[in-house]
Every structure is written in C-alpha cells, then in structure tokens.
C-alpha cells in the first residue's frame, strides 16, 4: 500500500502533459485538422520554457505557449491557407522542431548541467491529507489542476457556445458551415493555434513541473501518444481525459519499477505506453472521427 500513493502521485504528474496536449488536439481534430506536428509543439514548448524560466514559472509557461503557437502557425499556413497535406506538413514540422531545439540546445555548450526552477506544488489543506489519493489529487503543481480543469471547460465550450458549435460543424461538414455563415478557414486556424498552444504548454509542463531540465527529444513521442489518446477518447473531452489518465499511469510505471528495484529490464518498461497504444487502438480505436479529419480540401 505504501507504494501506491507515490505511484498515483507520479501518475497524475505524468498525465498532466498528455492531458493538456490531448485536449488541444481534440479541439484541433474536431475542426478537421490532425496536428502531427503536435510532437514538435511539445518539444518547442519544452525548450522555450527551459530557456526563459529564469524568474518565475509563469514566464516559462508563457514562452512555451508562444513556441507551440509558432509551430501551429506554420501548420495553419500550410494546411489551411495553402491546403497542403496535413500529415506530411505535420511530420516535417515535428522534424523541424526537434532539429531546431536540438541545435540550439547543443549550441548552448555544456548545457546538460542546467537545471531550472520547477513549479512548487500547491497542496490544498486538509484534502491533501487524505490517505493514498490525497497527495495525488490535491498536492500537485498548479498546472495539473489547470489540465484537469480544461476538460469540463472544453466540453462546455464545444457544447454550449456557438463558437464550439461552429467548430464541430466545420469538422463535420465544412460546406454546410460555410453556407450558414461560418468562416471555415478562420475556425480551423483558431483551432490549430489553440491546439498547438496547449501542445506548447504541455511541453512547458514537462520541464517546469517534471524534469526541471531540458533534454534533446524529451517529448519522447508524447505528441503522437496524444493523437492516439484523442482517437481512443472518441474525440470527446471526457473520453480523452480517461484515456490520458490510463496512459499517464502506464508512463508512471517506470518510476515505480525503478523505485521498487523490480528485476524487469528498464527498456521493456519504457515500451509499455507505446505497446499499450497499439493494443488500445486496435481494440477501441474505431470511433466516429470528424468526417473531414485530415482532408486537405474542405469543399
């Protein structure tokens, strides 16, 4: 039992970036755009947070969001304005981000030793004293609360605002949305920017709430996992939240294995989230994707 509490705490912590990125990707995909460059948004956000988190984590997060959005702007330009293939452009943007952050990071010289101030945890009095789940749920960095708060907020926004309605219509039937006066390109660009901003924020949280440092390729496929999570969650915020928690827990296993000194090869434990993705996609991945997802042409 004593191992369960730290595991849960770690699970919530590893869930946070996945959840933030997945919620953003949900919005983007509901508008019909799959952001394969999400991995690039995350690594760009992580690097931006790393270099600018000098004073407070807030500046780090702001920089992370801007970095994610700058990747998203390129995707919006190519995929929406120029109507190019979303997957190819997204793949290139991920390569570009990984390349640029790697180059800049190495150019900094002896950077491996650099550690930035991480966000302190904000424990909620009393609630965080609850045994086992107390610290996992109520003694997390502020970003974790934000991540979980995003889920109902996004649900509400998609269901109860006309902007959310328009967004869903654009992913479903852009011609119909256009005929009803919706500015399709504007909606898609906004959705991409929102999704990539959250991608950047997810990257920032990797640095500021978890690692406290930057490493090349530290996004480690989280962007791609997030895309899988969105499919597993059937493009609905609540489903996406559940899937994120499952994957966060799978990633947290590695810490448990280390802590317990189990005689399992570390490399095999690292595989778990990826293997889980394949199995889960095979078992549950067939849902109702937005009709126009990934299509370059919208009419």
């Amino acid at each position: 039992m004593s191992d369960l509490a730290p595991f849960l705490e770690a699970a919530v912590r590893t869930t946070t970036p996945l959840l933030i990125a997945s919620v953003g990707e949900t919005v983007s995909e509901r508008a019909g755009v799959i952001n394969v460059g999400l991995e690039g948004c995350i690594i760009a956000g992580a690097y931006a947070a790393f270099v600018s988190a000098t004073a407070t984590p807030v500046t780090g997060y702001a920089a992370a969001i801007l970095a994610g959005m700058s990747v998203g702007m390129l995707l919006a330009l190519f995929a929406v304005v120029l109507r190019r293939d979303q997957i190819i452009v997204g793949t290139a943007l991920t390569m570009l981000s990984l390349g640029i952050t790697g180059t800049l990071f190495r150019a900094r010289g002896d950077a491996t030793a650099l550690v930035v101030a991480t966000e302190s945890t904000a424990a909620i009095p009393l609630l965080s004293e609850i045994p086992i789940v107390g610290r996992a749920l109520f003694a997390q960095p502020a970003i974790a609360y934000l991540a979980f708060g995003l889920v109902p907020a996004t649900w509400w926004w998609l269901r109860r605002t006309h902007a959310g309605l328009s967004l869903r219509a654009v992913g479903d039937a852009p011609g119909a949305a256009r005929a009803a006066g919706v500015r399709v390109e504007l909606v898609q660009c906004s959705a991409i920017l929102f999704g990539s901003a959250l991608g950047g924020l997810a990257g920032g949280s990797l640095v500021l709430a978890q690692a406290g440092s930057f490493a090349e390729g530290m996004s480690a496929g989280r962007g791609f996992l997030a895309i899988a999570i969105v499919a597993l969650g059937r493009w609905r915020p609540a489903g996406v939240a559940i899937a994120s928690v499952v994957f966060g827990a799978a990633m947290a296993l590695q810490f448990v294995v280390q802590a317990l000194g189990w005689r399992v090869r570390y490399e095999l434990v690292l595989m778990i989230p990826y293997v889980l993705t394949l199995i889960a996609l095979g078992a549950f991945g067939r849902g109702s994707a937005p009709a126009m997802l990934g299509r370059a042409r919208v009419d």
């Binding site: 394969v36 390129l74 190519f78 120029l82 109507r83 190019r84 293939d85 997957i87 190819i88 452009v89 793949t91 290139a92 943007l93 991920t94 390569m95 570009l96 990984l98 390349g99 640029i100 790697g102 180059t103 800049l104 990071f105 190495r106 150019a107 090349e216 480690a220 496929g221 791609f224 895309i227 899988a228 499919a231 090869r265 490399e267 095999l268 690292l270 595989m271 990826y274 293997v275 993705t277 394949l278 996609l281 095979g282 078992a283 991945g285 067939r286 370059a296």
Partner: protein
C-alpha cells in the same frame, strides 16, 4: 540555424568544415557520403512506394532497426559455416523482419482502422527500446562491457568495392533497388494499382475493382521490407554489429529524400546523395567547427516544407508512363 552559425562565429570556417566532411576529400566522399547515401536511398524508395499508395509510413526507422536486428542475429558467429550464402540469408532475413514490423501496422490499419501514422511511430519507439534491450541484455557482447553485440562473422559481410575506402557492395544493390522499383511502379499491374489507389481510392475500387485495403497493406509491407533490407545492408556493410544508435534517423531523413524526389525512385538516388552530403557535411561542421549536426534534420524538414509548398498536393505529381513516340507528333484530336 542563423543563431548557431553566429555562435560558431566563423562562417567560412564552418563552410570549410562542411566541405571537408562531405565532398572535399576522397575519403569523405567514398567512405562517408556515398556510404550514407545507401540506406537513405533504399529506405527512401520504400517510403516512396508507400506514399505512392497514399499510405503514410513514418516508421522507416523502426523497420530499419528490426532489419538490422535480423541481419545481426543471422550473422553472429554461429553462422561461420554459411559462407557466401550467409550474406544473402542475412539480407533476406532483414527484409522479412522489416516487412513483418510494417505488417503489424498494416494489419492494424486493415482490420481495425488504426491510422498508420500513429502505429508506425509507436512501432519506432518500441523498436528503439527493443534494440536497447537486446544490446544490454540477451545479445550483449560476451564481456558485458559495451552496449552492443559481438561483431558478425566475416563471411556475412558485404564486400568492399575499393580497398582504401569503406564503400561496399550495397551501393550496387541500392541502385538496383531504385531501378527495380521504377520498373515495378510504371510497368506492372501491381505497381499501377499502387499508384491508382494513392491517386483515388474510390475510382480504384469502383472502376478498377481493386481491393484497396489489400493494395495499401501490400504497399506498406513492401515499404517495410525495403527499410528492413536497408538495416541489413547497414549491418553487413558498415557496422558489423548491432548497437543503439545504429541509425542516425535514416527513417526520417528518407521521408525528405522521397518527397524531394517527388516519389520517383530514380530521382531518389540523387536526392539520397544530396541529403547524405548534407548530413556528413553537418557532422564535419560539428567535428571541426562545433556546429551541432542536428541542424541537418531541421534543414531536411525545411526542404520537405519547401517542396510541399511549391508542388501542391505532393502525391499528385507528373509521372510519365508512356514513352513519347515519333508518330505521335501532331496526332492531337
């Protein structure tokens, strides 16, 4: 990049380092650049076949690693008795392993509708961790010091073409693969099916009576076979052992190689050489001028974006299937 160049200070020095690293000396060219172009070209042709069918195989990296594992397993010292056949067996095994690895994604796509973009990337991560596991676990060399396997026996190594360099017979194979793929795509019914499915799944199904899912799966598996094959060639021709960073991202660079060549197998030989030059030059810059070599991957991404921006939807590209004939002049109806 501009920042990194500025950080390096001396632009001329950087360019000199690039030149020395890639083309400037015969050893750089024959032992470095040309050798690097071999896997890039073979994987690139594989990627082109998949992309032609409209299947986005982003998993060349993982398929290449699995091919390398297979070739290593065949080539370890127990293969001493095999003689020349050993190379052939190792290469066939590598292609089969790559095909099987891509086959997982193909089955997931055909049976469960899983986007191959996601599944092939997941398989990349699994393959990388699997190789780490092998070279630190069951296949680690006998002294258990280094994270790598034993060297493969000399009989399963590809012959060097020119004694003073590291240039090996793989370059001939790579050229043959490109020509073969070109012939396959333009002349055979199976190749035309792949192009037709990539251009229009609906017209292929309705008018062509083509089994679209099967053609997509075949293209993905063939693509994986070539990537695995490239991994086998890398092990039998260059590294002679399996270790973690065996591939410096060939699977991703090959996407840029294929797209810049507009998915034309013969053009891929040229673009593979171009990107190999870029990468060995970048390594030279890192060695001699302190510019990080990952800059090459950013440049490759920019090349993809530039080509995509200029050519529109990249799958729809001119492809001459019928040779011009003299009698055609002025026949226009």
């Amino acid at each position: 990049m501009i920042i990194s160049l500025a950080a390096a200070g001396d632009v001329v020095g950087v360019l000199e380092a690039f030149w020395r690293g890639s083309l400037g000396t015969s050893s750089a060219f024959f032992s470095g650049t040309l050798v690097r172009a071999i896997p890039l070209s073979i994987v690139g042709v594989g990627i082109a076949i998949a992309f032609r069918a409209g299947v986005f195989n982003i998993g060349g990296e993982g398929q290449l690693l699995l091919g390398a594992v297979a070739a290593t397993v065949v080539g370890l010292p127990w293969s001493h008795g095999l003689g020349v056949a050993g190379v052939a067996i190792a290469l066939v095994a590598s292609a089969v392993a790559g095909a099987a690895w891509a086959g997982i994604a193909a089955v997931l796509r055909a049976r469960f509708g899983v986007l191959e973009v996601i599944s092939t990337i997941m398989l990349n991560f699994i393959a990388a961790n699997f190789v780490s596991y092998l070279v630190r676990g069951p296949l680690q060399e006998p002294t258990h010091v280094y994270p790598q396997t034993e060297l493969i026996s000399t009989s399963v190594r590809l012959p060097r073409l020119w004694a003073e360099t590291r240039l090996h017979a793989g370059i001939v194979i790579a050229a043959a693969v490109a020509v073969g793929a070109w012939w396959f795509l333009t002349r055979t019914a199976a190749g035309f099916r792949i192009r037709a499915v990539g251009a229009s799944t609906t017209a292929s199904r309705v008018t062509g009576r083509v089994n679209v899912e099967r053609v997509s799966a075949v293209a993905l598996v063939a693509s994986g076979a070539l990537a695995g094959f490239a991994g086998g060639i890398e092990v039998t021709g260059v590294t002679y052992a399996l270790y973690e960073n065996l591939s410096p991202g060939y699977g991703f660079s090959a996407i840029a190689v294929a797209i810049l060549a507009r998915l034309h197998p013969l053009a891929i030989c040229g673009t593979a050489l171009l990107f190999a030059t870029l990468e060995t030059g970048a390594l030279g810059m890192q060695r001699d001028a302190g510019v990080p070599s990952v800059v090459a991957s950013a440049l490759e991404a920019l090349v993809i974006l530039a080509v995509v921006a200029m050519t529109g939807r990249f799958v729809r590209i001119p492809w001459r299937t019928v040779r011009p004939r003299a009698s055609d002049a002025g026949v226009a109806a």
